[in-house]
Symmetry: none
Subunit: 192 residues, 4 copies
DNA sequence: TCCTAAGCGAGACGGTACGTCCGGTCTTTGC
DNA sequence: GCAAAGACCGGACGTACCGTCTCGCTTAGGA
């Protein structure tokens, strides 16, 4: 009947120590210079305890991310009733967060990791702008007559995240003016 | 008098072999798994010949990119007089090009490279959408009364590139519908 | 009433499985490449069951040896009345046994084990040539006037074992001629 | 024409540093506890420089031995004209040398190494008693009428080395009395 | 015409990190 | 309360590349 397995169970202590050591090292020295041996040392853990549970450094990164150890919060638009202000506030929060050099370097590292790990890519997207929350906010705005029907929440989400990432690529800052301008562009359109 | 230098001159053959080997390897195995020793071997060149002229792998990448060895062409919107069609055509061309798995993987590698080399980031941006060309196209559209004045070419450029990159992150495709919808969103705005 | 101890007693099945697995592995892959984990797996036993009862791999080896699981028999000279023939027969038996590649490799493993475990060294000596038996045989020969008094049984024993070991070191065979020659060499000096 | 190879030649400095570090570590901590990483560190050399030129730890050992870095000298009988005294002196020199705990542990390590490397076995034999030198000494003794003709130098050599090795196995000392007794045992038979 | 200063392919060097293997300890569950 | 299972920390293994260095060769001015 049972099938229950014998032996010691996986240590949650070790798991969390690893995820936290990973986040700490990535923030401190960047993704490239974060080594598995370094994580093990920082976590006070044997290297094999990492390789037993994760196939690669980027998988550890991913889990650290998913567990919310790495990025402290997801970015979600508020709801003040004014859709334009709310979207600007959301974009501004992301822009402000990644303006900090440490956080910018962290996101660069995550994107590097995402580029050779599909799951991390999906997860980074999700943590930057949680699609469900965006959809909810937009449908409320639509119901309030602030948006025309049928606007794709997904594309709008990607537009904002995309600009943040593009500025990261180019190492330039997304200013308050840029935030307002992009929000206006998207909401009012470029046509006269 | 002269000051002209003696000895063998830098070998253009070796230089091109290195740039091409780099492009080939990045396309074949990705940026991370491309090694300087691999490039040297692929190019039939000594390792020192690379380190003599470039400080790092990413610098070689950059030059390969700048020389057009890596990405075959820049993406520039046409000018048919219809700004909406032209922008859609430009975005569609990028989307179509990177839909090919090889090209998609190449762009992923370029972005990875960009993440640790600022100049590559700038260059990738430029090769995807050359800002000057976009500005020119937009100002013609503005003159033709198709756009309201003051629309930021830079933000529009980044919006399009950003969405391409974001889809690349998530490994999902930018369809023809997406292209039309994004173009419309940007040009007409989300408000009713 | 009882005072006897409670709980399951040590499993003789496990103990023998371990000793036999040890012998099998040492014969198959040699002492160095025999691992405690390998023994546990081969014996179908937990690793701790080994460490609970033995302090080290070489201790398991030793017990396997002592229990006769490893070397099937001790080598003892016969007593036909002719000391020279009897010693030659004893030496020939050892030489013949270790000529078989499997047995040779086993003895090499035993010697390796002996080199880091003093007790194994003593035990191997004893199992090869049991000193007590040799002494008994020699004193009978002495009584029969075949040997001058005072010949050291221990040195004679070591001489024979030593030559076997030396040939093992050099991977060369101790032939029938060698056996006769060595016996003669040693005995003519031992004769009155 | 040439076929001579280009590029930097192997560094003799690194090679000797490695051989000496190996000898030092084996003497200090024993063969088992000598690690390739330890050798590299002791020698101030990269690990790959070891693996580039030797396939295994025991191969390095062998070369250290062959180069005379490990055992400072071969043991060879003197020639005072008195064969019995000379052989006793030779055996006594070996016994005395390996009585020193460091040297004893070194020889144990060498024998361990020899047990899984045939070439080391041959070489250890050769360095302990150089067969050629023994043969020369014995044939001089034979010419001087101190030995009956046809005594096998090889067996005599092996007898002495064998006893040294056997005592090493049993961790017991070969005393001056043992030396005299063994020499006498062997020689009285060898006299005409 | 010779001399000399590059650049070249080759590849050894001291290092760092990889991912695997095993040692010896400890903990959980089942008999 | 022993046995199996197996997770844990530690640390060596052998491999892959890094960026630097030297070697012997070839070629192109300048003397």
């Amino acid at each position: 009947m049972s099938g229950g397995r014998r032996g010691v169970q996986r240590s949650e202590t070790a798991r969390m120590a690893i995820l936290q050591a990973t986040a700490a090292l990535v923030a401190r020295v960047g993704y490239d210079r974060t080594t598995v041996e370094g994580i093990a040392a920082e976590a006070g853990v044997g290297k094999q305890t990492i390789y037993r549970w994760w196939p690669s450094k980027s998988a550890v990164m991913l889990e650290s991310l998913v567990e919310g150890v790495m990025l402290p919060h997801t970015f979600v638009p508020p709801d003040t009733g004014d859709i334009e202000a709310d979207l600007a506030s959301w974009l501004g929060a992301m822009a402000g967060f990644f303006q900090d050099p440490g956080n910018g370097s962290l996101l660069r590292s995550l994107i590097t990791a995402a580029m050779d790990n599909e799951e991390i890519g999906a997860r980074v997207n999700e943590q930057l702008g949680s699609l469900g929350k965006i959809e909810a906010r937009l449908s409320r705005a639509e119901a309030a007559g602030q948006l025309r029907p049928g606007v794709s929440a997904r594309l709008l989400n990607e537009t904002f995240i995309g600009v943040v990432v593009t500025r990261l690529l180019a190492r330039s800052t997304l200013t308050g003016d840029d935030v307002r301008e992009l929000t206006a562009l998207v909401l009012h359109g470029a046509r006269p």
